[in-house]
Amino acid sequence: MEAISTGDRESTPGLAETADGRAIGYEGVAVGYLFGSAAFLAIGSLVWLAALTSVRFPNLLPFSHGHLRPIALTLLGLGWIVLGLSGGIYHVLPRLTGTPLVAGRLAQLALPGTVAVTVVGTVVVALGWGDGREPFALPQWLDVPAVALLAVPALVTLGTLRKRHERSLYPTIWFVVAAVVWLPALYLVASLPGLNRLISTLADLAFSYGFFHVWGLGLATGLAYYVVPKAAEQPLASRQLAKVGFWSLAFGAIWSGAAQMVAGPLPEWLQSVAAVLGLALPVAAVANATNIALTIGPRWRRITAEPVLAAAAAGAAFAALATIFGAIAGFRSAAVIVSLTAFWDGLFYMTTFGGIVLLFAAFAWHVLPNMVGRKVDAGRAMTLVRRNIFFASMTSLFLLVAGIATGYGWVGGAFTGSYTAVGEGWTQTSGLSGVLFGLAILFGVGALIAQMGVALSIYRVLTSGRATVQEVLVPGSNDRE
């Protein structure tokens, strides 16, 4: 077993280096990505709440749900999650490999490129020029630069790993490799022209769920494996559990998508495969959450005062819960009721605004002070964690229940005949779920304030907080030999 160690030392701002003075890469790249992503988190959260509101109050806003939904997914997916977690990759890679980022300049250039594609994409979809395909609905001419930009983290990661000084691989690297390889490949598959409607829908769902599970949740978990041991000052509890978590995630990643079409026009065998392989996801999420909890273990009392540990533990728990519900929803008996309803948006909310937001916050709160030089206000951050947990839980809960109520409403409507009506009759069947949806929006406002607080806390390390040392690498055992 090899050891990789990090330490604190004054260094040139924006440039990480090893103890012997060897520069290890463009530290400013990671900082830029993290700051850029925080802005998209704030805007994307706002638009997602607007998208939920537009379902309940269709004429309240100037844009319909059909426009707001892909805009929000683009802002959250391409803007916040891709930028934020790319920043995470560019931060951990030099530290875990002892090597400067390969093609760091390319990574630097990809930042404004990704911001541009995200902004242009939202404008294009708002103007009604999108292709209507989830998650981003970008037209084909924007898919090309998007795939090219998403390939940049893969080039940087694989190039850096090839030249690494540190021969051992820490579990975070597994998640990084999976994320950077899967994302552009799945995007490419989902963008292929000429697919029939069923296959293109399956490809869209595979990409959407691959994106949020492998790139979003998977990578955020991998980054938690980096910060939790450091924040808890404990080694990772179990490498074997991390392996179970990683490979189960890779097995189950895309199957929640197809599970939403169970009982639909899928071949019978695919419905069974989707339901069974979908079970791998909760196995992954529970293994990872357990590993994080066991790592914190001896320092568990610190969880009420240490925001990095609290956010990581809560984020992993949200992920576990969401994937358990998702797996149950993939079985035919449950899918009959909850497929196509707000239930799946509840799961999305739980995964994204519960799981990924908190895991992202844990990472950013731990690494940014080390790079920028100012501490995060722990008290304020703990308040944000508590608010995020409460409001994200309540919003998800009401969306889940609204979905179940809708599903049962459809069953009743099928017998009364009102459900088959197109206008007035349809509205009448959605009474109870409408109230529950309204409650979800109400708690969503609280969640939005908490999500914006997380984004703001990232910028505050620039403007306020006590000074702290910047982190640089010191030689690992290989370097000492």
Partner: protein, 162 residues
């Protein structure tokens, strides 16, 4: 920075926390790529292959040129975010129309926040009613970004969806 206590030598650094293991990077990349390929083949490619054993039936609709234009508008306006065009062989979908088969050329959709529109052409025979709904009746958001010709194409697509 001045407030910080800065270690002066490498001996002042804490013991290693992040402990890696000897693993084959090539094996990891191959495993990840292999699983990706398997998932795509199983989840996206194979469902598109007809199964002669089940009898190949078609649910593809021969849309007119105007309706095909309308389908494009349906996609661009994001109608699939709220409406499905997929009738399942389950109790909640009874009465909506014929069950959707594998090779539909309608827009399957992702959520059903509004009614299913797979057989809308059979359920609503009055084009004026449909146009009214698209312009904001019965709690439907107003579709305002398209002109009269596009409205006509969109309603043609919906009327031919049956």
């Amino acid at each position: 920075m001045s407030e910080a206590q800065v270690p002066s030598t490498s001996e002042d650094f804490p013991p290693p926390i992040l402990v890696g293991g000897r693993e084959n990077l090539g094996g990891l990349v191959a495993g990840v790529l292999g699983l990706l390929l398997l998932s795509v083949v199983l989840g996206v490619v194979m469902p598109g292959i007809p199964e002669p054993g089940n009898g190949v039936r078609s649910s593809a609709i021969g849309f007119s040129a105007a309706a095909q234009e309308g389908r494009q508008i349906y996609l661009e306006q994001g109608c699939g975010s709220c409406h499905t065009q997929m009738i399942r062989n389950v109790v909640p979908d009874f009465g909506l129309g014929p069950v959707t088969l594998a090779d539909t050329n309608q827009v399957i959709g992702y959520r059903r926040y509004g009614p299913d529109l797979a057989a809308i052409g059979d359920r609503t025979t009055d084009q004026a009613v449909l146009l009214g709904i698209l312009r904001g009746a019965d709690g439907h958001p107003t579709v305002s970004a398209i002109n009269d010709d596009e409205f006509a194409n969109l309603t043609a697509y919906l009327m031919e969806s049956k």
